[in-house]
Symmetry: C2
Subunit: 281 residues, 2 copies
Amino acid sequence: MNIVNTVDEVRQRVKAWKKEGLSIGLVPTMGYLHEGHQSLIRRAAEENDRVVVSIFVNPMQFGPTEDLESYPRDLERDAALCEKTGAHLIFQPEADEMYMPDFCSFVDMSILTEGLCGKSRPVHFRGVCTVVNKLFNIAGADRAYFGQKDAQQLAVIRRMVRDLNMDIEIVGCPIIREEDGLAKSSRNTYLDAEERKAALILNRSLSIGKKLLENGERDVKKVIAGITEAINTEPLAKIDYVDVVDAISLQKVGRMEKTVLIAVAVYIGKTRLIDNFSFEI
Amino acid sequence: MNIVNTVDEVRQRVKAWKKEGLSIGLVPTMGYLHEGHQSLIRRAAEENDRVVVSIFVNPMQFGPTEDLESYPRDLERDAALCEKTGAHLIFQPEADEMYMPDFCSFVDMSILTEGLCGKSRPVHFRGVCTVVNKLFNIAGADRAYFGQKDAQQLAVIRRMVRDLNMDIEIVGCPIIREEDGLAKSSRNTYLDAEERKAALILNRSLSIGKKLLENGERDVKKVIAGITEAINTEPLAKIDYVDVVDAISLQKVGRMEKTVLIAVAVYIGKTRLIDNFSFEI
């Protein structure tokens, strides 16, 4: 697998491809790739002539008490997975390649970043917007691929691209789950056996919410209450949020009229996990 | 002169040019063009196959008490000047083409934006960074041209491009002055005859500062005092700031060791004017 560490190397490679008229797909990741990432790479390979995977655990999107240091890393395994899945280039910069000592610019967003994960992770989306903006500028890709699991991230990136007139297409891809329903996440590796079982409550509680909606329930409070109640049956689970928001603006909805996003964040022990689904009204 | 009002039209035009292998220069302006702008357009025409001039009085970079409404506008005159000076396309969007009602993204910067004009214009550089970032993404230019008169703006844009890995070259061009030394500015039009004379104090006071430096003065306080004293001899002038900063980081300097920027902002009546020079130590 072709791995480069500098912005200049990526640029040169991509410019050469573009000169040949080849299209470029970008899959931004923090590494420790799982089948969720692989589904993005596979889709990118189907839709583009060349696929760049970035692997960068971005310090700027971690709060001071979060898991930047312990975030799992395994470049060798990641490279093998990328190779197998159809990627052509890995961009794996060190932090000082991305952030010079006097770095002081940032991309940020109001409104969409204020609820859901933004509430308990106040610096997170500034870090995400800034690094993704940089990666888009570095890779000059035609399309970039993100998972629906990070639904707020996907909505925020779509909005950034629209608002800042970035010339790139954002492709959202479905959540990939373990056989028992747990959404794939690099953070699942933090869970011990007991917590791993307890973590099923995220998907299970969302299924209960979905059933309520399918049965015609349109009272937001009742849907939230149903999901909350289900999560609270699991002693190892501690709710960060359970929310129903407009799928595009991420604003709280009073009445359900358009497509809504039903999203949860739950601590299982010390591990914070997220899951969600969209529902068309 | 070819004038377009939408992002899509600019994109189509530029993409067609790029397909032909032509290089693109961008000159972002707020219109009411003067010889300062013309020097940028001329330079852009020398260095690129095609020149795009944007004319947009960007609401986001004006504070609530500033001169957004009264800012002078004259598209017909601007178009004729662009034609004459070698531009190929004017992009003149309405505010709602640049900012949708639910626009909520922004590009901002710390450190470089905190002193000088940033101090008395707290939202200004967020507006500048955001709109320039958008214009760069829209025009996809190889080079963009800015005047040294707005020295802080130029430094901020250079830093934004570096920090966010934007693939564009920033070209800074010398200040263009009236015969009597006043730096050309669209805002000079606000001055009545008496104020017009008084405004000469900006350039004159800077000349005094320059002479001090040329004579070997290296005490920042003494240089600032010399300029301040000179401005205070003019009854119509009210100082916003007189400062000596590092030319790259825009940070206050204790000792003069590298190239410094000596910059002033002065109210002449109600009109706020700026001027500056750089000095290599």
